[in-house]
C-alpha cells in the first residue's frame, strides 16, 4: 500500500461525490510487492474513489482525453506517464481541462 494525497479539479470532483481532496489514501494495486505505478493507481481510483460515470475518468487503460494528471505539481508525462512510480506522500492531481471563456 502506498499512502497518497489525491486531488480532483476542473469539474472532475463531480465524479467523486464532490470530494476535491482525498488525503491519506492507502492505494493498493502494485501487486507482487512491486512499486505502485500510475497505471495501477488509475484502476484503484476508479474502483475506490470515483462514484459515478467512470467513463468520464478513464478511457481504455488511461485517463480520458482532456484530463491532466499531475504528480507533485508536474505533468505525469515528465515522470513516465502510465509507468510513473508513486511513493508515500506523493500528491497526485486529476484535472479536467476547461474550454469555457
Amino acid at each position: 500500500m502506498v499512502s497518497l494525497s489525491l486531488r480532483f479539479g476542473g469539474g472532475l470532483e463531480a465524479l467523486t461525490g464532490g470530494a476535491k481532496v482525498v488525503d491519506d489514501a492507502e492505494c493498493g494495486g502494485g501487486g507482487g510487492g512491486g512499486p505502485l505505478t500510475a497505471r495501477a493507481l488509475l484502476a484503484w481510483v476508479r474502483d475506490n474513489v470515483i462514484t459515478e460515470r467512470p467513463e468520464l475518468f478513464l478511457a481504455g487503460d488511461t485517463v480520458r482525453p482532456g484530463v491532466l494528471v499531475l504528480i507533485n505539481d508536474c505533468d505525469w508525462e515528465l515522470e513516465g506517464g502510465l509507468d510513473a512510480e508513486l511513493a508515500d506522500g506523493d500528491v497526485v492531481s486529476f484535472i479536467s481541462t476547461l474550454h469555457g471563456g
Partner: protein
C-alpha cells in the same frame, strides 16, 4: 516615469506590438481593456457574436446599450478600448474565427490571446500559432474558466515549450466538456483569468519577465487556492509542432476542427451561454 520592470526599451516594444484577442466574452473583456490601457500598439479583436444582456454579468467591456442594439462583440469592445485609450489602433474582425483568419492572425501578430469558449477554436488557434516548420511560432496566451475554476497557460512561446496539442493530443469527448451553458461561471473568476492573460501578453509584447510557457496555473475560486504546475515539453511527435508535423498553416484550411473537437459556436437559436446566471 517608466515602470522599472518594463524599462524604456520594453515600453517601446509594447507600443510597437501587435496583439490579437479571439473572443470578446468573459475572458476577452478584461484582456482587451488591459491591453488597450497598457498601450499595446495594435489590437485586433475577433468575435462573430452579438452582445447579449444575459452575458453582461461577466462581459464587463460591454453595456446594456450595446446589448439592446445587438452590437457585435468585437465592435462593442473596440469602442470601449478607444474610449479608454485613443492612441491604440484597434481593428475588428466581426465574424467567428475560421482557418484562414487564424493563420493570418498568427502571421500578423506578436502574440495571440485565446479567449474562446470551445475546444474546436482552441485547437485551431493553437495549430495556427504552432504549425509549420518554416514559420516562426507565435506565442499563444490561453485561458479558460468554467464554474468556479480557471486555467491559464502560454503555448508555443519558446523553442522547447509545448503547444496546446502537445499537451492535449486527443480531443475530449463532447459529454466531458463542461461549458458555460452547463455550469455557468463566476464573473470575477473569469475576470481574474483574463487580467492574468493580459499580464502575460503585456510581458511577451514588452519582452520582460518570465512567461508561463511550459507551466499551467490552476485557480479554484471557491477555495481561492492557486496551483502552478509544470507541463511536459514540446513533443517530437506533436502533429502540429513536432519534427514531422502533419498539420501546417496550409493544411489547417482543410482540417475538420468541429469533427475533431465539437462545435465551435452556436448557429442561430439561443446564445450558447445564455444560461449563465452569475
Amino acid at each position: 516615469m517608466v515602470l522599472p520592470a518594463v524599462g524604456a526599451a520594453g515600453q517601446a516594444r509594447l507600443c510597437a506590438a501587435r496583439a490579437a484577442v479571439v473572443g470578446l466574452g468573459g475572458l476577452g473583456s478584461p484582456v482587451a481593456l488591459y491591453l488597450a490601457a497598457a498601450g499595446v500598439g495594435h489590437l485586433t479583436l475577433v468575435d462573430g457574436d452579438a452582445v447579449d444582456a444575459s452575458n453582461l454579468h461577466r462581459q464587463v467591456i460591454h453595456t446594456e446599450q450595446a446589448a439592446r442594439a445587438r452590437t457585435n462583440k468585437a465592435a462593442s469592445a473596440a469602442a470601449s478600448c478607444r474610449a479608454l485609450n485613443s492612441t491604440v489602433e484597434v481593428t475588428t474582425i466581426e465574424s467567428y474565427l475560421d482557418a484562414a483568419s487564424a493563420a493570418a492572425l498568427a502571421d500578423a501578430h506578436d502574440v495571440v490571446v485565446d479567449c474562446s469558449d470551445n475546444a474546436a477554436t482552441r485547437y485551431l488557434l493553437s495549430d495556427a500559432c504552432a504549425a509549420g516548420l518554416d514559420h516562426e511560432r507565435t506565442p499563444l496566451v490561453s485561458a479558460a474558466a468554467v464554474g468556479t475554476d480557471g486555467q491559464l497557460s502560454v503555448y508555443s512561446a519558446s523553442a522547447d515549450s509545448p503547444c496546446y496539442r502537445c499537451v492535449h493530443p486527443r480531443a475530449p469527448a463532447r459529454a466531458a466538456c463542461q461549458s458555460c451553458s452547463d455550469a455557468g461561471v463566476l464573473g470575477p473568476l473569469v475576470g481574474a483569468m483574463g487580467a492574468l492573460q493580459a499580464l502575460e501578453a503585456v510581458k511577451l509584447c514588452a519582452g520582460i519577465g518570465r512567461s508561463l510557457a511550459g507551466r499551467l496555473v490552476l485557480l479554484d475560486g471557491l477555495d481561492l487556492s492557486i496551483m502552478t504546475v509544470k507541463l511536459r515539453k514540446r513533443s517530437e511527435d506533436c502533429a502540429a509542432c513536432g519534427s514531422s508535423p502533419s498539420i501546417t498553416r496550409a493544411s489547417i484550411q482543410a482540417y475538420d476542427y468541429e469533427g475533431f473537437a465539437g462545435p465551435a459556436h452556436d448557429r442561430g437559436g439561443a446564445p450558447v451561454d445564455a444560461a449563465c446566471a452569475l
